[in-house]
Symmetry: C3
Subunit: 365 residues, 3 copies
Amino acid sequence: MDIQLPADVASALDAVPSWAADSELPHFLTGLEPGRDGTLALVRLARAVRTHQRELARLRPLAGHSFAGMFFDPSLRTRQSMHVACAKLGAAFLDLQPGSGMWTLEFRDEVMMDGGAAEHVAEAAGVLGRYADILGIRAFPTRGQWERERTQPVHAAFAAHADAPIVNLEGPMAHPCQGLADTLTLSDLFPEPKRKKMVVTWAPHPKQLPLATPHSALWAGANLGCDVVLTHPEGFELDPWAIEQTHRLAKEAGSSFDVTSDREAALEGADVVYAKAWGAVTGPESTAGGHANAISALRNWTVRSSDLERGNNPRFMHCLPVRRGVVVSADVLEGPRSVVLDQAENRIWGQAALMMALLQGRKKS
Amino acid sequence: MDIQLPADVASALDAVPSWAADSELPHFLTGLEPGRDGTLALVRLARAVRTHQRELARLRPLAGHSFAGMFFDPSLRTRQSMHVACAKLGAAFLDLQPGSGMWTLEFRDEVMMDGGAAEHVAEAAGVLGRYADILGIRAFPTRGQWERERTQPVHAAFAAHADAPIVNLEGPMAHPCQGLADTLTLSDLFPEPKRKKMVVTWAPHPKQLPLATPHSALWAGANLGCDVVLTHPEGFELDPWAIEQTHRLAKEAGSSFDVTSDREAALEGADVVYAKAWGAVTGPESTAGGHANAISALRNWTVRSSDLERGNNPRFMHCLPVRRGVVVSADVLEGPRSVVLDQAENRIWGQAALMMALLQGRKKS
Amino acid sequence: MDIQLPADVASALDAVPSWAADSELPHFLTGLEPGRDGTLALVRLARAVRTHQRELARLRPLAGHSFAGMFFDPSLRTRQSMHVACAKLGAAFLDLQPGSGMWTLEFRDEVMMDGGAAEHVAEAAGVLGRYADILGIRAFPTRGQWERERTQPVHAAFAAHADAPIVNLEGPMAHPCQGLADTLTLSDLFPEPKRKKMVVTWAPHPKQLPLATPHSALWAGANLGCDVVLTHPEGFELDPWAIEQTHRLAKEAGSSFDVTSDREAALEGADVVYAKAWGAVTGPESTAGGHANAISALRNWTVRSSDLERGNNPRFMHCLPVRRGVVVSADVLEGPRSVVLDQAENRIWGQAALMMALLQGRKKS
C-alpha cells in the first residue's frame, strides 16, 4: 500500500503470512491454505478493519483494484458482503452471472467448440485475471458426481487459467469465506475459545444441500481450539478428507474432535450449536427419493429451544439462508442466543481482511 | 460527517428535522414522514447538493456507506438515479433483484418453510440492514387485494426486520422519491408556487397501473401551496386516505384541493398539467375487462396540445415511462412545455438529499 | 479536470483533438470520428493512463461522472473492461440490460404505444443522458436486414435523443472500442508499425457473426500504416463502405490494402494474423442453410500453427470469445504468438482514454 494505514491495521496486515510459494498465487479454495496461524492472523486483521472501517473508507487502500465475483449459483450474503467489503476499502466489485448477459462457458479440454458454448473457461479466466486483482467463484456441486465434484473442478479450472488469486465463494468442498466469518464470530463470543464445546449438528431440509458449510464450520471451531463435536444421522457422513482435516487441526490446537449420531449426548454442555442441513453424497440417502424418505423420519433433528436447554447456555449459529420450522424453530432463530446476523455481518470483515492480505504481496503495477 | 461540507450544503442539511423518535428509524415509506417543513427542507438540501455536486463528488461525504435497493419490479429511473446519487456522494449502490441470482423470499409469519422459498424476509432484511445503511424497496401492488396492499406489506416487512431506514422506491400507496423530485421540479419552475394551479389528470393506459405516483404528485403540489385539482373519470377514484392527506396538507399550506370529473373545467387556467394513468382498485373498472372497456371509451383523456391551450401556458409533467399517443401526444411530450426530463434528473438530487439526511443522525461506527 | 494529472497524462490528453463541431456531441459510433491523428493520440493517452494507473486511481479524475452501458446483447469483456476503466478513473458504471429488470423499449417513430413496450427510446435516452455523462450501447444486427442494420439504427436512436456522447460497444458496422484496443496492442507489438503486414482472415463458426470486429480491425491496421490484407472465401464480403474506408485510411497512411480469397498467399510473410469469423450479409451464404453448407466446406480456414509458419514469426490476434478447434486451434490460441489476452486487457486502457477525452471539453457543471 502506498498510503498510511491505521497502525492497528498495518500491524495486523504485516502479521498475516504469505501462504503461497513465490512462483504461485495465494488461492483461497478450501480456506485451509493459510494454515492455523494464518487464519488466526486473518481474524485479527478482520477485527482491526472492522474497528477502523471509517478511516479505511476515506483512505481507500484498495483504490484502483477490482474483485470479480463469478456466480454460477444464487447468493444474497456472499454477493452483497463482497460488494460492501470492496466499497469499504475503495475497490470495485465486478458481478458476473454466467448465463445472464454473458457468454456460456465451455469447461472441457481439447474440445471442438461447435456447440452452444461461446467461450472456453481458459480465455474467460485469462481475461478476468487481467481485469480483476482477485477472482471469486461460486459453483455448487452437481449431484451424483461426488468423486469429481469434491475436487472443486470449476474452481480448479479458473485457478489453472487466471493470473490472479481465486477465492472460493462456496464450492462443493468448502465455503471458506463463511468459515472465516464464523471464526471471527466465535472468537468475538469467546475471547478464550480453547476447550469451548462447539456442536455442529445436521438438520433436515427438503433439498440436498452441499457439504461446504459444515466442513468450513468444523475447521473454524478446530482452528480456534474448540472441542468440536459433529452429530448427524447415519448415512449423512461428511467427506472423509474434510473429517481428516478436522482431526489434524484439532490435534494441532490441542483440542478434541468427535463424530456421533447420538444427538442428545452431543448437545450436552454445548457452548455453541451450529446447525446446518446437508444431503448425503453416497449411499441410499444420496438419491432424491432416499433423501425425502430419510428427512420425513428425521424431523426431530430440527433445532428447538428444548435442544439448547441441554447445553451450557449455548449460542445458536447458522450460515443462512435457513428454513424456519424445518432446520430450526423461529423462536431459537430470533431468540437472544442466535448470532446469525453477526455471522452474516462478519462476512464483510473477514473478506475485507482476506482481500487486503491477498493484495499485500502482489501488486499489479 | 467528519468532513467539511460546502457551507450551503451543511446549513441546508442542518435544517432538515429528524422525523423519527430517538428509539425509531426514520423510514420514508409514504414520503409524508418528514412533514411539510421537513419536505421543503429536503428540497432546499437537494438544490444545494445539485449546485455543489462537483465538490461533493471529490469530498465523498457518504464514503463507506451503502444503499441497497431491492427491486421486486422493473425500474429504469429509480435504479439508475439511486446509483448516480450514491456515486455523487461516494456511497456504494447494492442492486438486488429477487428471483434473479438470489434466493426467493418467504413473507408469511409462522410458516413451516418446506416449499419453494429458501429465505424468510426476517433474515433477508436483518442481514441487509447489517450490510447497508439504507434499504430501498420497490414492490408494486398485487391487483385485486387493495385492502391488504394499501398497507404496503412488503415494505412493512422489511421495516419490521431491518435495523436500517427503509426508503420506498415505489409501493402500492406512494412513490415518495418521485414526489420529492416533483416537489423540487415544481419549486424550480415556480419560485413562488403558492396558489399556482396544478392539475393532476388521469390518462388512459392499456395496463392497470398503481396509484402511487398520483398520490405522491398530489402531496407534492399541496406541500408547496399550489391549488391542486385532481381530475379523473368516475370509477377511477384514488385511495380515500391519500385524498384525505392531500386535503390536510392543502389546509396546512393555506391553499385548495378539489376533485372533479369535469376535465375541461379542471384544465382551465392550469399552470401545470401532471398526467398519469392508473387503474381502479375497486368497482367494475377494477377488473381487467372493466378496465379495457372503460379505456376504450375514455380515449379523449389523452393529453393533447389543445388541452394545454386551456391553461395558463402550463408546463407538462409526467413521471415516465409514458405511452406515447395513449397517455400523451408526442408533440406535447417533446414540446417546450414538457419538463419530464427535469423531473427525471431531479430524482438524483432529491434522493441524494434524502440519503444525507437519513445518515446525518445515525452513523454506523 | 480540476485536479493535477500526471504530466504525461495531461500532455497526452491535451493532444487529443476534439472531433465534433462546437454544437455537436463527440460520438464514437464507427470509431473513425477522431480521424487517424485523433486515433493515434487516443492510443498515446491510453498508454499514459496504463503507465500511471495507480496515481490516477488515487486522483479519481472522473469522480462524480457516470458511464451508462446499455447491453442489448451479451458481453464479458466489454462490460467488465468498461467497469474497470470507470473504477480506475473514479467514475461510476451503470449497467443496463433491456428486458432484465427494466422496461422494454419502443424504437418506432410516431407509434401509438398500445402494445408491449412501456417506454420509448426517446425518453429512455433522454433520461440516461441526464444521469450519465457518456452512454455506451451494445446492439448486434438483426439478420436479414443489412441495408437497415448497416446504419446502426439503435445507436442512431440513442444519439438522436440523448444529450450525451454515445460510445458504440459493438454495433452492426463497427466495434470501435475493440478497434482502439487493437490499435494499442499493435503499436505495443510494433513500435514501428509502418509496412508491417497485418492479415485479417475469415474463419469458420457455427453462427453467423457480425462484421463489426473485422471492420474495426482493418481500420486499426490501416491507421497505423500496416500493409493490410483481408482474406475470406468468396461470398463472405465485408461491407463496401467499410472496405472503402480502409482504402482511404491506407492511402492516408501511405501503406497498402488488399482483399483476396487466396488465403495461402495472404498469409505469406505476415507479421500479424488477425482471425475472425463472420457471416455473409448478402447472397446465398447469408441464409442459415447457406452458412451451414459453406462452413462445412471451409473447415480448412481454421487457423492452425502450420498457417502461421507461412508468416514472418507472426503474432496471433482475436477479439474473443473464440471457438477452439473451429476458429483457431488450441495450440495457436494458447501459444507464445497469441496476444489475445493483451488485446482484452487493452480494452481497459483504450476505453479509459476515450472517456477522459470525451469528458475533457464537456463538463457537466
